[in-house]
Amino acid sequence: MESIFVNSKEVFLDTVNAKDYIQLDRVSNIYQSLKNSIKKPLKLILLYGRPGTGKSMFLAKLYNDLSASQAIYLYKTPILDEKEFYKTLARDIFNIKYSGELNFTQMMKIIDNANISIENTKEVPVVLLDEAQLYSEALMEKIRLLSDTRAIKFVITLHKTEEEDLIAKEHFQTRIWESIELENASSAELKIYIQKKLMKANCFNTASMFTTPTVNKIHKLTRGNYRDTNKLLYTLFDIYVSYEKNNQYMDINKIPIKYIEMAAIHTGLIDA
């Protein structure tokens, strides 16, 4: 029989999988508004927030939920070459394979010929572009122009840092109809997030170890960032696994602060 700590550790592996999506009240509301926005005749939807706030997970979830009923395309890694970007869109959306180079003008022609009914929002293909801050400014400009045709709907995610926040706003202010900001979790939300995640994997014993003071400590270290929390908890359970292998006594009712701090030191959240 596998240790409960090993199972719990696996829960917090940092992967973007729609099945791992955890429903939290605030996040659910945001997700619902994003889904509603897609149904509206909007050209560009901006999803932004600090790294680790769940933007990629949102896109994955959206793709997972809508793929059965809508033409939707998810690009997790940016296609930085402009021509390659057009070729990929033409191939995926319009099923046109280009052996040679495809430029912006040719792409616009393809869109015109596709004769997509822009009134029927379900017919308009949705392109989900993750990590859009990596696209060049020129390509971003082209994406904006493509969205102006209303034949393709773009949902893009951007990292929000102090500088990037400004860029995001300046670039898209005139074209964006919907912008959604994702934030770090509060302490209460983080508790629900951790416990739900563990319970989803049937780790009930370890889920009950996360009392409010323990979660507060974790929140203090990670500031509610989901990615940092996942990393921290993965290491925390790794520590448990190590102690378990050494047959060291462990209180399974409470997580010692020492273990949390050790995990934080290992993940770099504490500079020691």
């Binding site: 290491t235 790794d238 520590i239 190590s242 102690y243 050494n246 020492k258 701090e261 050790m262 030191i265 290992h266 504490i270 020691a272």
Partner: protein, 262 residues
């Protein structure tokens, strides 16, 4: 797989590092508290000393002097404070001078010893007169000097020769408030001055106000003896002894009867 021993070492280092500011703050707080408490204790001790040393000369002074020479009295505690602050090893002893005060009331009220220079007092008085003159700076300088001189630890004697004037003052006060203590005081003073009739009168007044004052009956009887009314004095004393069983009155009666007191 994690290197747990190494991680534990790093954690221990982190804990020590993070607890240093708290330890420093705690240490500083403790030091501040100790120093503060020490200072307060020392301070309260010096205040205690000052208070007790000041009390001694106040006890020495008679009621009279307090009223007549308030300026001089103010000088006294200041001087005492200076003495105590400069000499912290002052040993406090209970003052038994009040016994002498009781015995020799007449002497103490006439001659009072104060810690101040008579010359300086005179000078300050003259300075007050000189004030309106144009040489203001000089006057101010001399005033400062004179004030400083007042603190010098020399002793002066003020002889009081105006007992009668004082008695009149007390009589005035007595007429206002009819305090038997004042009338008794007047009776005693007149007795001491040899004015036995007046002493008799005031003792009588005192007895009428309050018939439980032993001293008043004593002065009353003594005055009668001095006024050649020995039998009346004996009769009065006997009545008083029956009423109060006063031993002092009994002693006086015996002395009168034996002829010791004339």
């Amino acid at each position: 797989m994690l290197n747990i021993p190494e991680l534990e070492k790093r954690w221990l280092r982190y804990k020590i590092k993070s607890s240093i500011p708290y330890a420093v703050i705690s240490l500083i707080s403790i030091i501040v508290l100790i120093v503060g408490a020490n200072y307060l204790l020392n301070n309260s001790n010096t205040i205690e000393k000052t208070k007790t040393t000041v009390r001694v000369p106040v006890e020495k002074k008679s009621h009279y002097v307090q009223k007549e020479t308030p300026k001089k009295q103010k000088v006294q505690p200041r001087k005492q404070e200076m003495q105590t602050t400069s000499n912290t090893k002052t040993v406090l002893k209970p003052s038994m001078n009040f016994l002498h005060t009781i015995k020799n009331e007449v002497q103490t009220t006439q001659v009072v010893t104060l810690h101040a220079k008579p010359q300086t007092l005179k000078k300050t008085a003259s300075v007050a007169v000189v004030q309106p003159k144009p040489v203001k700076q000089e006057v101010a300088q001399t005033a400062v000097k004179l004030e400083k001189e007042e603190v010098t630890p020399n002793y002066i004697s003020i002889k009081r020769r105006d007992t009668k004037k004082d008695i009149h003052e007390i009589i005035k006060r007595f007429k206002k408030n009819h305090n038997p203590a004042l009338s008794l005081f007047v009776a005693k003073k007149y007795y001491e001055l040899g004015e036995y009739k007046k002493a008799y009168n005031y003792a009588l007044i005192t007895n009428q106000i309050n018939q439980d004052i032993e001293d008043s009956w004593i002065v009353f009887a003594k005055s009668l003896v001095k006024l050649n009314q020995k039998q009346k004095a004996i009769k009065t004393l006997k009545k008083y002894i029956d009423y109060s069983s006063s031993s002092t009155a009994q002693i006086l009666l015996n002395e009168i009867q034996s002829g010791k007191f004339k």
